[in-house]
């Protein structure tokens, strides 16, 4: 290919890429830069006053911000760990040699929570966790709760975050289950047969064959789930609104309230930038893994 041809070829390639890059720039880069810019100003729709890093120092000095960051971490870690444990357990069960029809039926049944929109799942759980809801009724029937007593799962600072996390675990474990099941089905059977000949126990097979073979999938789904859960808004907003006494507040809800209720767009932007940086760290790990796999 001559130099002229190559040049024309490249120009053509950029020509095709152009609209997509422009769209990406408009929809992602521009809002991102706007948020970064706003985080350095005091913004309330009527005025913009330059405050430099004032919003950042103010929020880092606010006890509520650290409380919310801690709660977001608990919510994320709790959700991701339980997604992995439940997803892995069910994937292993579905991978056992049972009737194919039953397996397919169970797989279809277990994926149902994943089909619910977070808001719908949240509303269902609000009804179940109400003082006179299904859960308290069940506990009473089992004799674990006094018939005249009720546990206010969503209205108690001790249990509100736990309840929201439980709903989030229930809704998203099928994603892990499906991904891990696909991974399990891709492990060659002869590896297990060779292990059987060597006389390995089931536990040894899990630790030394299954887990290492699923390592790539586990890392990918854990990273993706961490990103999705860390920025989750709907479960908390729908179920508790962050209350009571901010006990279930997470970063995404606090950013929304600071921006649209307090109209402190600069302060909320600073919170959003911190959230972005944390998520960016996760994304870098994920993207590096993806690039390495492609290479």
């Amino acid at each position: 290919m001559t130099l002229r041809h190559r040049f024309r070829h490249e120009v053509q390639a950029y020509g095709f890429l152009g609209p997509a890059l422009l769209l990406l720039g408009l929809l992602m880069v521009y809002p991102l830069l706007q948020v970064l810019r706003m985080s350095l100003y005091e913004v309330n729709l009527r005025k913009e006053v330059w405050v430099g890093l004032g919003n950042y120092t103010a929020l880092l000095r606010t006890a509520l911000f650290w409380q919310v960051l801690w709660q977001t971490t608990l919510f994320t870690v709790g959700s991701v760990v339980m997604h992995l444990v439940i997803g892995m357990g069910l994937a292993l069960l579905l991978h056992t040699k049972i009737n194919v029809r039953i397996r397919n039926f169970l797989r279809g049944l277990l994926i149902i929570p994943w089909l619910f929109a977070p808001t719908v799942a949240g509303m269902i759980w609000v009804l179940m966790l109400a003082p006179f809801g299904v859960l308290n009724g069940l506990l009473t029937t089992l004799g674990l709760l006094d018939p005249n007593a009720t546990i206010n799962w969503l209205g108690s600072p001790q249990t509100s975050l736990l309840s929201v996390t439980a709903m989030n675990i229930w809704r998203a474990f099928p994603f892990f289950m499906v991904m891990l099941l696909a991974g399990l089905q891709a492990i060659p059977e002869d590896v297990y047969e060779a292990a059987d000949i060597d006389g390995t126990t089931a536990r040894q097979k899990f630790w030394y064959i299954t887990l290492p073979a699923l390592r790539g999938i586990i890392l990918t789904v854990v990273l993706l789930d961490s990103i999705w859960t860390f920025r989750a808004f709907d479960p908390v907003y729908v179920m508790t609104g962050g209350g009571p006494i901010n006990s279930s507040q997470v970063l995404a809800t606090v950013i929304y309230f600071d921006a649209f209720q307090k109209l402190q767009f600069g302060y909320a932007s600073a919170e959003a930038v911190i959230m972005f940086l944390i998520l960016f760290a996760f994304s870098v790990v994920y993207v590096r893994r993806a690039v390495r796999e492609i290479a």
């Binding site: 309330n44 729709l45 009527r46 109400a130 003082p131 006179f132 018939p147 005249n148 009720t150 206010n152 969503l154 209205g155 108690s156 600072p157 509100s160 907003y237 508790t240 609104g241 962050g242 209350g243 009571p244 006494i245 901010n246 309230f257 649209f260 209720q261 307090k262 109209l263």
Partner: protein
């Protein structure tokens, strides 16, 4: 090209230029008023179209365009449209948003137009809705309504109680008598859900007013509720929950929806609610046996007035036409049409006197309550009512949880309010 052809070309071009650069509004062209509101989804298109037809008949030079958005997210949508310079001409707002929207420059003061109106126009608007923000009137009410008492006549009859409580003491006595946790019957629906923080309307502010306290000191521009009267009100309320245990469980997560659903089951003896609750209860349980009464008195009477309001926006294309619509829908014809069609409590006193409204017995307690002292709408004096209500809710939650006493909770809330008021 022949001379004729050249002439025709020049003529065509000249006409095209004139048409292209002609001003948009020409003689005979109608002005358009876009009404951004959440009511179409609530009352249905039939009534809205009837209103539109009636208004346009009286104002043939104006076209009314209905722009509907569900109430959920309406506040945020209005702010976003304002930022995008696309706000409608007439904007419907809640009492909580007036000061907030006025402060960011979204609303046009109505004072110049109101000054030209006859005296009886404003005389017919309840006093609570004549409250100005920073000296200016930014809104007129579409419908109103204050909080009163709903009481379940069946539970009262079964407990051998003749009628609703008239004082706080009677309220506590009756509450203790009717509460039966084994049968899941409770006296009251305490609601302190944080989001949306609208429960202050029903549960807290009326009590502070009844205790002889005030919510805001408008002269000093400071919070006024952390007074001995305020403390007494919060202590009385928290005692219902923690000491007398007469409130339905779930106080800190119960909101308006749960409150209404609980009362609708027929297991709750009393509920603080606005006139809009009558239609809601009809939908929830049409067989429910209940009545309404003015709220029990503490040191004095007191209630909170709410309502949906109409405003003219600063981005209105034709402010004069927008005002004509706001004036019409708040006037005797428009307001009667609205009240009749929607079942809402009328915003005007003369419409509330009409036979069609008088016939609705359940709504008469609200008329009475509005006429008693301290029927107020504190939200209209709050620069950021949503945020301020949220602060108050959190602090009352702290008191219910025993993390603070009433005085500490109210002082902390007042300190936060004063920071917002000082801005």
């Amino acid at each position: 090209m022949s001379r004729v052809a050249r002439f025709l070309t020049v003529l065509t071009l000249a006409v095209a230029v004139v048409v292209a650069f002609a001003p948009a509004s020409q003689a005979g062209q109608k002005a358009e008023v876009r009404w951004f509101q959440w009511k179409t989804t609530e009352v249905g298109e039939k009534l809205m179209n009837e209103l539109k037809a009636a208004f346009e008949k009286e104002h043939p030079d104006i076209t009314l365009t209905l722009v509907d958005n569900p109430f959920q997210g309406f506040h945020d949508k209005a702010l976003t449209l304002f930022q995008a310079q696309k706000l409608a001409d007439v904007l419907m707002v809640q009492v909580d948003w007036v000061a907030e929207f006025a402060d960011v420059g979204m609303l046009e003061p109505l004072d110049a137009w109101l000054a030209k109106e006859p005296k009886e126009f404003l005389d017919n608007i309840p006093e609570a809705f004549q409250q100005r923000w920073r000296g200016k009137q930014y809104y007129l009410p579409l419908h109103s309504g204050c909080v009163a008492l709903y009481w379940n006549t069946e539970i009262f009859k079964n407990a051998g109680i003749a009628g609703p409580p008239k004082t706080w003491d009677e309220y506590v006595q009756i509450a203790k008598k009717v509460t039966n946790p084994e049968k899941k019957i409770f006296a009251t629906t305490a609601t302190l859900q944080i989001e949306p923080p609208t429960n202050m309307t029903y549960d807290i502010y009326p009590l502070i007013l009844q205790a002889g306290g005030d919510i805001l000191d408008s002269k000093a521009n400071k919070a006024a509720f952390n007074s001995p009267a305020g403390v007494k009100a919060i202590e009385w309320y928290v005692d219902l929950i923690n000491k007398h245990k007469v409130a339905v469980p779930g106080v800190l997560s119960n909101g308006e929806k749960e409150k209404r659903a609980n009362f609708g089951t027929g297991n709750i003896a009393m509920m603080f609610e606005g006139p809009w609750g009558v239609a809601i209860q009809k939908g929830l349980n049409k067989d429910l046996k209940y009545d309404t009464a003015p709220l029990p008195k503490g040191m004095t009477s007191g209630t909170v007035v709410r309502g949906s309001l109409n405003t003219v926006t600063t981005q209105a294309q034709n402010k004069e036409a927008a005002w004509k619509f706001v004036r019409w829908i708040t006037g005797p014809v428009g307001n009667e049409m609205w009240a009749k069609g929607s079942g809402d409590f009328p915003a005007r006193k003369d419409v509330a006197e009409k036979p069609f409204f008088r016939e609705n017995k359940l709504l008469q307690a609200f008329v009475q309550q509005m006429q008693l002292p301290n029927a107020r709408s504190p939200f209209l004096g709050m620069p950021n009512a949503v945020q301020m209500n949220k602060i108050m809710t959190t602090e009352v939650q702290n008191v219910v949880q025993g993390k603070k006493n009433a005085k500490q909770g109210l002082d902390d809330a007042a300190a936060e309010w004063n920071k917002i008021l000082a801005k």
